[in-house]
C-alpha cells in the first residue's frame, strides 16, 4: 500500500472517529443495556416473566378489555406477545368504517392481571435506555415532525460504517501480526493502540453489522424510501411499503357486520397445535367484526429456521384455515432480508448466551471508542505541536472522557433510584438521569484530570453496581437466592449482571490505582 493512501485512510479514520466518538459512545453504552430491555423492565416493576404461562393467556379477555373502551368494528387488532416479559403489546388501528369514531391506540397489557396501560404509564428504565440508544430524547430539538435525534444517530451510524472501513484499511497490513501484540506495561500510547486495534479487529464484524443495520433503521426512510417512492411509486410511500413489505397484508373491507365476537382462544389453541415447534409471536385480527375479518397467528423459532416464520390465517366468517405457512418452508428473499436486519441488530436468535455476548461486544465497542480518543490525545501531546492547540485537544478529550465514563455510575445510580421510587416514570428518569449526568460531567470537566475521572467513575460505578442487588432485595424481598428458588431468572439476571460488573470494575479500579502508585514511587525514587 502506498504511503499517500495510508495517510488518507489514517487521517479520515481519525477525523470521522473524533467527530462521532461521544455520540457513538452513548449509543453503544445505552444500546448494550437495551439488549436486556425486557429484563430491566421486569426487574424495575418486579414482575417476573416466569409468573405467567404464555400459552394459557386468555385472548378473549384481552379482546374484551380492548372492546370495553372502543368499538372495535373495522379496526385491525394486534396482540403481540413478548417471550421475555409478561407484558403484551395490544394495539388497534383506526376503523375502516368511517362511522366508527376514535383513533385506536397503543397499549401495554399485563398478562397476569389484564390491566391496560398506555405508553406513558408503562415507561420504565429499560425503555429509557433503549430510546436513549437512538437518541430519541434529542428529538425535541427538531420540533414536531422532524426527528432530529434519530437522524443524528443515523448519520453517526453511517459515519461509523465509514470509520470502520477506513480503520480496517489502515490496519490491514498488520492485521494478523499485530493481533497477538498486547503490551499493557509499555508506554501509555502503545497500550491504547493495542487495545484499539485488538478489540477493533475482534469486534469488526459485529460493528459492521451494527453500523449498517443502525443506519438502515434511522435514516433509510428519508434517504432511501422517500426518493424511491418519488421516482417509482408516484411519491406515495404508502404504496411503496404496500408493494414491498412482507408484514402488512390488507383485506378488502366488506362493510358488513357479523354478530358474534371472534373466539380468539380457539384460534390461538388451534394455531399452537398446527405450529408445535414455534413460539407464538403475535395474533392479528384484520377488519374486526366484519364479514371480511381474518385472524392471523404468527410464530417463529430462530433455532429451527433462522430467517423464516410460520403463520396460520383463518377466515373470520367461516372459521376455516385460509392459508398455512409451516416453519419448515424456506422463507422468501424479501422476508429473509427483513428478518435478518432485525435479528442481527437485536441479537434475539440464540437465547441469553447470544445476548450476553452481544452485550460484551457492545461494551468492547465502548472501549474501542475511548481508546481511540486516547490515542488521538496522546499522539497530539508532543513538543512540536503549539501550546494553544495542545490545550484545546486536552480540553476536548477531557470533556469526552468525563461525559462518557460518567455514564457508567449514572446508569448504576438510576437503577437504584427507580427501585427506591416506585412511581418512577418518564419524567423522573429523564430528570434524574440527565441532571445527575450533567452535574457529574461538569464536576469532572472542572477537575481536569483524566486519571482521577477514570479512577473515581470506576470506584463509584463498582460500588453502586454492587449495591443494586442489595437495594432490590431490601425493597422487593426478591433477594438473589429468592429469585433463584422461584425461577425468576430475569430478575436474577439483572442482579447478577450488576454484581459481576461491580466486581469487575472494582478489580479494574484496584489495578489502576496500584499502577499509578507504582509510577509515583518510581518518580519519587528518581527524584
Amino acid at each position: 500500500m502506498n504511503l499517500r493512501n495510508y495517510n488518507i485512510y489514517f487521517h479520515t479514520h481519525t477525523v470521522s472517529g473524533i467527530i462521532i466518538s461521544l455520540v457513538l459512545y452513548v449509543i453503544f453504552f445505552a444500546g448494550s443495556f437495551a439488549f436486556f430491555k425486557s429484563e430491566i423492565a421486569n426487574w424495575q416493576q418486579n414482575t417476573p416473566n416466569a409468573a405467567v404461562q404464555k400459552s394459557q393467556i386468555d385472548m378473549n379477555r384481552v379482546r374484551d378489555t380492548m372492546a370495553a373502551d372502543m368499538d372495535l368494528y373495522g379496526r385491525d387488532l394486534y396482540i403481540t406477545l413478548n417471550e421475555r416479559s409478561s407484558r403484551m403489546i395490544v394495539s388497534a388501528t383506526t376503523s375502516k368504517d368511517t362511522t366508527v369514531k376514535g383513533r385506536g391506540g397503543f397499549f401495554y397489557m399485563d398478562a397476569a392481571d389484564f390491566v391496560k396501560m398506555d405508553y406513558r404509564q408503562s415507561y420504565d428504565l429499560g425503555e429509557f435506555l433503549y430510546r436513549l440508544h437512538f437518541l430519541a430524547p434529542l428529538n425535541v430539538i427538531g420540533g414536531r415532525g422532524f426527528p432530529f435525534g434519530y437522524y443524528l444517530a443515523g448519520i453517526v451510524a453511517f459515519l461509523f460504517l465509514f470509520a470502520s472501513i477506513t480503520g480496517t484499511l489502515v490496519h490491514w497490513k498488520k492485521i494478523v501480526s499485530n493481533f497477538y501484540v498486547f503490551r499493557p506495561w509499555e508506554k501509555l500510547k502503545t497500550l491504547w493502540t493495542d487495545i484499539h486495534t485488538a478489540l477493533g479487529v475482534i469486534t469488526l464484524p459485529f460493528l459492521f453489522v451494527f453500523a449498517v443495520t443502525g443506519a438502515y433503521y434511522l435514516i433509510s426512510f428519508p434517504l432511501v424510501t422517500q426518493p424511491v417512492a418519488a421516482s417509482q411509486y408516484g411519491g406515495s410511500t404508502d404504496s411503496l411499503l404496500q408493494a414491498t413489505s412482507t408484514r402488512v397484508t390488507n383485506y378488502d373491507f366488506a362493510h358488513q357486520r357479523v354478530g358474534q365476537a371472534p373466539d380468539l382462544n380457539a384460534y390461538f389453541r388451534d394455531a399452537r397445535q398446527k405450529m408445535p415447534e414455534t413460539e407464538i409471536r403475535n395474533i392479528v385480527v384484520n377488519n374486526y367484526g366484519d364479514q371480511s375479518m381474518r385472524i392471523t397467528v404468527n410464530g417463529a423459532n430462530p433455532r429451527k429456521n433462522f430467517t423464516g416464520t410460520a403463520s396460520v390465517v383463518y377466515s373470520g366468517a367461516s372459521g376455516q384455515v385460509e392459508k398455512f405457512t409451516p416453519l419448515e418452508r424456506p422463507s422468501s428473499y424479501n422476508k429473509a432480508v427483513d428478518n435478518l436486519m432485525y435479528t442481527l441488530h437485536f441479537g434475539n436468535f440464540g437465547g441469553n448466551i447470544v445476548r450476553i455476548l452481544y452485550f460484551l461486544l457492545g461494551i468492547a465497542g465502548c472501549i474501542v471508542i475511548i481508546s481511540g480518543v486516547m490515542i488521538w490525545l496522546v499522539a497530539r501531546n508532543k513538543k512540536n505541536i503549539p501550546e494553544k492547540k495542545r490545550r484545546f485537544n486536552e480540553w476536548l478529550a477531557n470533556i469526552y472522557l468525563s461525559a462518557s465514563i460518567s455514564m457508567y455510575p449514572v446508569t448504576a445510580a438510576t437503577f437504584i433510584a427507580v427501585k427506591l421510587n416506585s412511581e418512577a416514570g418518564r419524567g423522573f428518569i429523564y430528570s434524574f438521569y440527565f441532571w445527575v449526568w450533567l452535574a457529574i460531567t461538569i464536576l469532572l470537566v472542572l477537575r481536569r484530570n483524566n486519571y482521577k475521572t477514570t479512577r473515581d467513575c470506576l470506584l463509584l460505578g463498582g460500588l453502586l453496581g454492587l449495591a443494586i442487588p442489595i437495594v432490590n432485595g431490601l425493597v422487593t424481598g426478591n433477594w438473589i437466592w429468592v429469585s433463584w428458588r422461584h425461577g425468576y431468572y430475569d430478575l436474577l439476571f439483572i442482579d447478577l449482571l450488576w454484581m459481576v460488573m461491580g466486581i469487575t470494575t472494582l478489580v479494574t479500579w484496584m489495578l489502576v490505582v496500584r499502577k499509578q502508585q507504582g509510577k509515583l514511587k518510581i518518580a519519587l525514587a528518581a527524584a
Binding site: 472501513i165 477506513t166 443495520t213 421516482s231
Partner: protein, 78 residues
Amino acid sequence: MTAAFIGGYMVTMSLHMLLMTFLDKATLFNTMKFSVFILWAVLMVLALLAKNGWKIWGIYLGLSLVFFLPYLLHLTDR
C-alpha cells in the same frame, strides 16, 4: 469531502434506481436496505483517495447522470 458525501450518495441512489427499471422492484428495495449504505461508504473512501476534488465531483456527477438517464428521457413506464 463534499464529493465523497453528497456525490457518493447520488451515485449510489441513481445506480439503484437504474437497476429498478429492469429488476424486480420489491426485491431490489429490500436489498437496498443494506446495499445503499455499504456502497455509499465505499464510494466515500474512493472519493477521498482521489488526487483532485473537482475531477471526482465530475466523475460522480457524470455517473449519476448516466444512471439516471432512463428517468430523464422518460423511458420508464411508471
